[in-house]
């Protein structure tokens, strides 16, 4: 059988796979980007808020975040996987600017930049020290998800309730726990928990619990609000590279 005949046989499988990849990335993105809003290995679970109390809390959170025009925050992401001896620790920085600009950058232990700007999405990594734009798959889905992330940046979780059961606990801080409703997503994620500072209503830690022993914890620090963030940070072709990740 010639190569062309071989290709004809294989391609339909990949076409199906590409569609499934798109669906899968939709779920992964929801998981991944919740972490932007927040930031710790399960904080002690306090008293669960009633439905009315929960609604009131989310309303207060949205109110508190209303004055935030822009944000710059550092993060440390620890990936704990029982098969591996030590966690993989990555460091990065996140930028957000109203109404629709978001940048999630990892500069250690690898380098990648994801940018959402006015409903367009771009992802970059570095090849031999030079910025490389990825020919990103699943862009349409990413766009929709990132749009929803922007809502979360504003403390708006209304649409999330279609995908997650939301539980809120109160002790010293608040813990907003999102439990997937779909069995498919539950196979990958048991729950996502955002630890929210009781005073500022800002997320300090995100815990993405995959299994009893495997989890990702993202701790946020050094948050600066309402800075003048350069437009070039959100450039979809050649974004400005911030300190800690090399030069432009």
């Amino acid at each position: 059988m010639g190569e062309s005949a071989f290709r004809l046989r294989i391609k339909p499988i990949w076409l199906g796979l590409k569609m499934k990849l798109n669906q899968f990335f939709f779920l992964l993105l929801i998981i991944g980007f919740l972490s932007i809003q927040s930031s710790a290995q399960s904080s002690q679970q306090g008293k669960e808020l009633t439905s009315d109390e929960g609604d009131l809390f989310i309303q207060q959170m949205a109110e508190a975040l209303k004055t935030r025009e822009s944000m710059q925050v550092n993060f440390v992401q620890e990936r704990h996987f029982s098969v591996f001896l030590e966690p993989l620790i990555s460091k990065g920085i996140c930028f957000f600017r109203e109404p629709d600009k978001l940048r999630w950058e990892i500069y250690e232990s690898y380098k990648s930049i994801l940018i959402y700007n006015n409903r367009s999405v771009a992802k970059f990594d570095f090849e031999q020290g030079r910025l490389r734009k990825l020919k990103l798959g699943s862009v349409d889905i990413m766009r929709e998800i990132l749009n929803q992330i922007i809502s979360w940046m504003k403390g708006d979780f209304r649409n999330s309730s279609q995908i997650y059961e939301i539980k809120i606990y109160k002790n010293k801080d608040y813990q907003l726990r999102l439990i997937p409703k779909s069995k498919e997503l539950l196979k990958s994620i048991k729950y996502i928990e955002l630890n929210i500072n009781a005073q500022t209503k800002h997320v300090t830690t995100v815990l993405i619990k995959e299994t009893e022993t495997d989890f990702i914890q993202i701790k946020f620090s050094n948050e600066k609000d309402n800075l003048e963030l350069a437009e070039e940070l959100f450039d979809l072709k050649n974004p400005l590279i911030v300190s800690g990740s090399g030069g432009r």
Partner: protein
Amino acid sequence: MTNKLVVIIFLTTLLINFTSCSFNQYILPQPASLQAEKHTYIHALQNTYPKEFTAIQRIVLQIRNKQYDFLGYLAMSRNNAFRATVFSDMGGKFIDLYYNGEKLELIHKPTGIPDKPISNGVTYDIKHLFEFIAGNNTYLVRNEKKEISVVIIISDNKFEEYIFQDNKKEMASSRSVHNGRIIREAWYQNYANFEGFDYPVPQKIFIKNYQWHYELEIELLKIVPEVKTHNAFPTE
């Protein structure tokens, strides 16, 4: 009669041309008289990685001109068993597979994604890149560029070839050949020293799988020469 012969010759020529355009037959290279170097190169190949290790890699998968990035965890054990788990860049398990040296167990994959590209593609990519079982059917070859390669014959119609950089005991590229067809090729770059390792390890690997039409770029982020055997290989 003459006309018939002309037509047959024409059609045969056409068929040969078509076949050779479809794919180039890759012939099993003939052994070179390199008995003195044989041990050195086979030793270098088998010591590319320690007998057991665990690695974390950043992986960019390219399918049909689209790219998807992942984090991969790989645990290799002494008895040729391995566990490979792939996560999205920011969380969420994509693929989890366990190979016990003989049989594959696909622990997790997204519903609807076919098994074959994983069981026949990715699994054998891992074996090709990280598992080098040299035996009696292993010999050295010197190509026209004077590069030395180690050829491991797997069966009558299958072999693996690992090509070394000239005068260096580091792999530069490799390929798997089945029935005269190259089904995967890999390139190894950026050899670097890692703590606990006796030799430099390739930090970047590119692999093209011609059988399943995808490419992987694998960047090594972390590697340790030990495995949490109980966790990685639950059935052992």
